[in-house]
């Protein structure tokens, strides 16, 4: 085997480790290991590259790596957890910037570059530049830098113009104009496009934007890989390009937004799919979740308070609930049940059902005993209860249930509501709890939903 063969062989090892690692990041138990495996893959690919006999200028390589390490490590170590998203944006941006710079140098070095190399170089330059500048704007917005905090009007028309201009310059370059100045112009146009595309987007949508730019950087890396005949870049870049696109879609879905809506809707425009205009004109959106998410939330909680209601009785879900609680207790999660005096259709309705399912009696707490506990509750799991959790009873004078004592579930760190649909409760009134930011809804039959959550918990 020649030296190049060895390099390629190590590349195969490297990108296999990427694939295995990323797969493992999908599950919370294997995620840490998965990330480490991907990092090892990166190490293998790096060593392989250094074996390549085209490598020279060792001093410059060491200087570059040293600078990068000196900046990257402390930044990643010291960043506050709350500032994580903007840090990811920044790391993504520099990746895109690196691709843009590589493309620039490749263009400047080459003479009469073949089309099959020139097209990927131009593509990588455009996407890399968009990603670099777009990510920096995303960072500035999340960091709440003053210049980015302002409201910006929708810039769709300008963006279309910029995109057209970028494309025109790209075509001229590909057609054979060997002028370095045109390539700089290409990078500038794409960069401005990156800025103006991200600037009007509101802070809440930034994760979707960052994920999109992440996929972009991946695509640009893959294009650079084709230009450089480097399999590691092609595979790793495309892997990120594809998985990043799917991830972007899933994130947008989870927020009830479409990706197009995020990028072309302007500031806060469009609104969520489930947004309903309230009587007093306030836009309200419910957040729906999945069994897998609820399972993770519950497994990593210290205290879960189950709030059963009529819905649990109708669905005959008490056994499923007891199974879920047993599964959680095996994971050292404390589970209590909050029993409202009028939960269900008769006093003691819930106690009977839960006793039938062999729930230990000392876990069933009366309203006055449990209300003090909600402040230290990680997840309040509401199963088919509605009016007994309605905060309107506390503070909305006009509400028909104003003054009714309720379970203070809104004091819990997060609330998960299992519910058949958005229909209102027995009293026929809307529940502001469902629109609370910390509330997520899992729609469906209570029994089926609880069983789904249990099997997801078991799979963790």
């Amino acid at each position: 085997m020649s030296r190049t063969d060895w390099v390629d062989l190590l590349y195969i090892v490297g990108f296999s480790l990427f694939i295995v690692g990323l797969r493992m990041v999908r599950g919370p138990r294997t995620a840490v290991r998965g990330n480490q495996i991907a990092a090892v893959g990166m190490g293998v690919a790096l060593v392989a590259t250094l074996l390549d006999d085209r490598i020279g200028d060792w001093v410059l390589i060491v200087v570059g790596v040293a600078i990068g390490t000196a900046v990257g490590v402390p930044a990643a170590r010291s960043v506050k957890m709350t500032a994580m998203p903007q840090m990811v944006a920044l790391f993504n941006g520099v990746g895109g910037g690196a691709v843009a710079l590589i493309s620039l140098v490749e263009f400047r070095e080459g003479h009469d570059i073949a089309l099959e190399e020139l097209i990927p170089i131009v593509f990588a330059a455009i996407i890399g530049s968009i990603s670099f500048w777009g990510s920096n704007v995303a960072f500035s917005k999340l960091q709440e830098l003053s210049w980015a905090k302002r409201r910006f009007p929708s810039l769709t028309a300008l963006n279309l113009g910029l995109a057209a201009a970028t494309l025109a310059v790209a075509v001229i370059i590909v057609a054979g104009a060997d002028a370095g100045i045109l390539f700089w112009l290409l990078l500038v146009l794409a960069g401005v496009l990156g800025v103006t595309a991200v600037l009007p987007i509101g802070g809440a949508d930034m994760p979707v934007v960052i994920s999109t730019l992440n996929a972009f950087t991946g695509l640009s890396a893959a294009a650079a890989g084709i230009a450089l005949d480097n399999t590691a870049l092609i595979v790793a870049g495309m892997l990120v390009g594809a998985s990043g696109s799917i991830l972007t879609k899933q994130m947008a879905d989870a927020m009830n937004r479409s990706v197009g809506n995020v990028f072309f809707g302007g500031f806060g425009g469009g609104g969520g799919g489930a947004a309903v205009a309230d009587d007093d004109g306030v836009d309200r959106t419910v957040r729906s979740t999945s069994a897998a998410d609820v399972a993770i939330q519950l497994s990593y909680a210290r205290l879960v308070v189950v709030v059963p209601g009529y819905g649990m009785a109708v669905a005959q879900a008490q056994r499923a609930v007891a199974d879920l609680a047993a599964e959680l207790e095996r994971r050292n999660v404390e589970v209590l049940y909050a029993i409202h005096p009028v939960a269900g259709r008769m006093p003691g309705h819930m106690n009977v059902l839960l006793a039938e399912a062999d729930v230990p009696y000392d876990q069933l707490k009366e309203m006055d005993d449990i209300n003090g506990e909600f402040a230290r509750t990680d997840v309040a799991l509401i199963i088919g209860a509605n009016d007994v959790t309605n905060p309107a009873a506390r503070n909305v004078r006009e509400s028909p249930i104003y003054g009714m004592p309720i379970l203070d579930v809104d004091k819990a760190s997060s609330v998960v509501v299992l519910k058949r649909s958005m229909a209102s409760g027995f009293a026929g009134i809307d529940n502001p709890l469902f629109y609370d930011e910390k509330t997520s809804m899992l729609f469906g039959d209570a029994k089926a939903s609880v069983a789904d959550i249990t099997s997801e918990v078991q799979a963790l």
Binding site: G72, E109, G225, N230, I234, Q250, S290
Partner: protein, 100 residues
């Protein structure tokens, strides 16, 4: 390598990418994005390969920046992901056994 082989690899990698992220719980969206983010730090290799044959101060200067950028992407990306995922472990203390 000829272009068609590279395109074949590209397409296959795309399908693997789609498969790898078939179903991810919302809670893990951000860490996963961060992990994939670290993986495209692979561009560091591109910069290292190009700097060998590169000539002239400007080209080498641009590539040193590219190498620094790529390194930040790689080390920062993996470290931040590791810290994020560490939160999941840290949030699961054993209530029955008090911490040392």
């Amino acid at each position: 390598m000829d272009l068609l082989t590279e395109l074949a690899i590209l397409v296959l990698a795309a399908f693997v990418g789609f498969e790898v992220i078939s179903k991810v719980p919302n809670t893990l969206h951000t860490p996963l994005m961060s992990a994939t983010n670290a993986v495209h730090g692979i561009v560091l290799l591109g910069a290292i390969i190009v700097i060998g044959p590169a000539e002239g101060f400007l080209n080498e200067f641009l590539l040193v920046i590219a190498i620094a950028f790529g390194t930040i992407n790689v080390v920062g990306g993996f470290l931040v992901t590791d810290r994020m995922l560490g939160m999941f472990k840290g949030r699961k203390p054993d209530p029955k056994e008090p911490a040392e």
